[in-house]
């Protein structure tokens, strides 16, 4: 009977433990600068087939910024999750202010004064910033006293120099301010140690600067900050006191930042010269495949996101759009694919005006679209590989006769496409839901490319893929270029855009800042334009106004 009651209780409330108003077990209050806040010894975590963390010793002191560097797969995420209580280590200990602790869940970590700011916002967009900050806080009264809470949070803002309107809804805030809200959320809960997951990855250079300034201010006191990063080494290193480098689960180097050089750090991160030098084939450019004139479109929220862009792409040419997500490139891709209504402008494909054409018409005419979301949008999980491939064949007279699908033909086509694109699956009847991310992307390519489109729109094609799959996709796109396809490449990875494109257009707030041939583009100039670089810098370099974009 008691077992049954417990079973019912377990079924009704599925949390691992009760949450109530907890008192801090080890007060991090009163900690002084220089004191060790957190120390780990021998943290080890294994997953099937890989040792993600291998005897990691780490330490961070109050008032310090200690950055952790590592490539994708080096074990950063695992370590981060262990420090925040999301994962439990197989071996090793964690000491907070000298006392051994074990985290059963993130709430334990939060109670001890550890806060985490995730790469992908863990905020509720519909609520205001203040509501997000006070949500779930033990101190929040039953009947909300927003004025009191607002006062306290404003005090925090003042202390650290944050400028943010607490009463705006989070979805209206730009990425940089959303991040501040998350930081405030952690600080409001009394965090003395902040773990930051790729904090600058979605920020514009201007926002990054502001953010770094805030970091410096925060660390002036007793706050300790651990940024975990892969990219943007120079920026974060400019504020950190110490650096720890992870590679393949182990700590390979641990030094004070002022003693480090960029080159040495990169070498330690990577271990060898990983030269991802793409061979950019010399391809003769053919005639114009796509011409876009003054195209505008609204975002999902009804605001004008694309504000009149114009450009053209020729056969055999890769046109790269570089920009931080949210500047209109997604709306551009969808408008070109026929998935989004335009608010003005013209799209001409192979000489014909297709501005009003439906997605189906565009598919038939030879436009291929690779969407950023692989699961659920790019592929249908419940469908087999055959049916997924058929999504681009069902309207083709060759595969659909008199209203019936010619499955024999479709299956043959699928077999060929799957092997050509190296999609790993037991057989073509496997459902797509069983495929890994890389294989899904290959499936999407296998669906679109064999149809030999004249224009291929690749929207974030290597997003979230591991090194092997990324390489495959990029090589594939290069092969398409050689075959004379015009390719529109949209990517958040500036290196990728620079390496692959013939022409590059940085996009900022819905407009092309400029269109630059690849030979004349550098990371600094593109990066600056992506962030809406101040006029003088551009004027100095170019000597004329470049807003609005043109051929």
């Amino acid at each position: 009977m008691p077992a049954l009651t417990q079973k019912i209780r377990n079924i009704v409330s599925r949390t691992p433990m009760k949450r109530g108003r907890r008192i801090r077990k080890i007060p991090l209050e009163g900690i002084k600068r220089g004191e060790t806040i957190l120390r780990t010894k021998g943290i080890t975590k294994k997953f099937p087939g890989v040792v993600a963390n291998n005897h990691i010793d780490f330490e961070i002191k109050a008032g310090e910024i200690h950055a952790v560097l590592g490539e994708n797969g080096a074990g950063k995420t695992t370590l981060m999750n262990i420090l925040f209580g999301i994962l439990r280590p197989d071996k090793g200990e964690i000491y907070v202010r000298g006392r051994r602790v074990e985290f059963k869940s993130p709430l334990d970590a939060i109670d001890l004064g550890i806060g985490m700011v995730h790469q992908h916002r863990k905020l509720i967009p519909a609520h205001t910033a203040l509501e997000n900050i006070v949500l779930g806080h033990p101190k929040t009264e039953k009947i909300l006293d927003m004025r009191r809470a607002g006062g306290e949070v404003k005090e925090l803002c003042r202390k650290y120099g944050f400028k943010i309107d607490l009463n705006t809804r989070v979805w209206q805030l730009p990425a940089g301010e959303q991040q501040l809200v998350e930081i405030l959320k952690a600080l409001y809960r009394g965090a003395k140690l902040l773990i930051l997951d790729e904090p600058t990855s979605v920020l514009t250079p201007l926002e990054t600067e502001r953010f770094l300034k805030s970091l410096r201010t925060m660390a002036k006191g007793e706050l300790a900050i651990i940024p975990f990063i892969t990219h943007k080494l120079p920026e974060v290193l400019s504020v950190s006191d110490r650096v720890t480098i992870l590679r393949r689960g182990k700590v390979v180097k641990h030094l004070e930042t002022r003693k480090a050089t960029m080159k040495a750090l990169a070498k330690h991160m990577v271990g060898r010269e990983v030269l991802f030098r793409l061979k950019k084939p010399k391809v003769k450019k053919g005639k114009e495949v796509l011409r876009v004139e003054n195209l505008s479109a609204l975002s999902d929220k009804g605001i004008l996101a694309l504000k009149g862009v114009s450009f053209s792409i020729r056969e055999g040419e890769i046109f790269g759009i570089a920009g931080i997500s949210g500047n209109g490139q997604h709306e551009l891709a969808e408008a070109l694919a026929g998935l989004r209504k335009t608010e003005g402008g013209k799209v001409v494909f192979q000489g014909r005006d297709i501005t009003r054409a439906s997605t189906l018409e565009r598919l038939k005419k030879g436009i291929g679209y690779i969407p950023p979301e692989r699961v659920g949008v790019g592929t249908v999980g419940e469908f087999s590989l055959v049916d997924n491939i058929a999504m681009n064949l069902y309207f083709d007279k060759e595969f659909s006769k008199r209203g019936l699908l010619d499955y024999k033909r479709i299956r043959k086509h699928t077999e060929k496409a799957i092997s050509e694109f190296d999609v790993m699956a037991p057989n073509i009847d496997t459902k797509a839901v069983h495929l890994s991310g890389g294989n899904l992307q290959k499936l999407i390519l296998a669906r679109a490319i064999p149809r030999t489109p004249r224009l291929l729109i690749a929207n974030l094609p290597t997003h979230g893929l591991d090194v092997g799959a990324t390489e495959f996709v990029r090589n594939r796109l290069m092969a398409c270029k050689k075959e004379g396809m015009g390719i529109l490449l949209i990517s958040e990875d500036l290196d990728e855009v620079l390496q692959m494109s013939d022409k590059i257009a940085p996009i900022y707030e819905g407009k092309f800042v400029d269109i630059v041939p690849a030979e004349k583009a550098s990371k600094e100039t593109m990066g600056a334009m992506m962030a809406g670089a101040p006029l003088e810098r551009r004027t100095k370099r170019r000597g004329k106004q470049l807003l609005g974009g043109h051929k």
């Binding site: 079924i11 009704v12 409330s13 599925r14 949390t15 949450r19 993130p106 709430l107 939060i110 863990k122 905020l123 509720i124 967009p125 519909a126 609520h127 509501e131 006070v134 949500l135 779930g136 806080h137 033990p138 929040t140 009264e141 039953k142 009947i143 909300l144 929220k301 009804g302």
Partner: protein
Amino acid sequence: MWPFIARCLEVATILLFAGIGELLDQRSGVLNVGIEGLMLFGAASGFITAFHTGSLLIGFIIGTAVGGIFGFLHGLFSITLKVNQIVSAMGIWIFAIGFTTFWADRYSGSTVPLSPRMGNHLSPLFFLAIALVFIVWFILSKTHLGLKIRSVGEDPSVAEATGINVVRTRYPCVVVGGLLGGLAGAFMSLTYLRLWGHLPTDGMGWIALALVLFSMWKPWILLAGALIFGVVWQFGISPELFVPGLGLPLGVCRMFPFIATIVVLIVISTPKFRRKWGLAKPAALGLPYIKE
């Protein structure tokens, strides 16, 4: 004239009870399209109880409680077993159709004692309904509990990360939705109709659902909608009280509330309203919460 207005307010009361319960429920992210089923159970159990005991109060209590049981059942299916919420609610509704027919139709034509009325015409429960609107509004917008409920309805995983127990927040909302649905049904059979006929709810539960959607989950708009539809419904039943000499056949008049509901739904789906509506919608509505 006054009796007509009183009847309108009674219909509004029914719509309010059912609607505000569902509004709270949906704000926490659980979709219950089977309000009609809850109302049927409330109406049947309340009626049978009152018939046999002669006490309206007990009838109301039982009717409400039975509604709560089925609200809990829907919660069990939706929250714990993570079954498709529409299937679950449909199941309860169709079960209600069958079971209440089997159970209560033998009482067809019987009546229950007259319920107490204020000033000879209006049931005091009307004021309870208005009070409930205020209470729910207050809870949702001014209390920490309300913030938690809303968060659970928007993004349960984020809410969970801040220490809120999603399951323990959703169950009470679903049960309250059930209780109020049962109350709405009991009120219908005990006060508004006072006699039993086959499937007395006649679509009102569905109108309540449409009202919740129309209200964009704001209690005061729901109140306005319920009052308006109270009039529209009653107009369909006795148009001659409102517009004497209209001369339309009964069947046509009875259609009005349903046509009005369709119109209302179309209006809020036009692009002009759709954006506002989309922003107001609890983002996690209807989606089962699966803890990773």
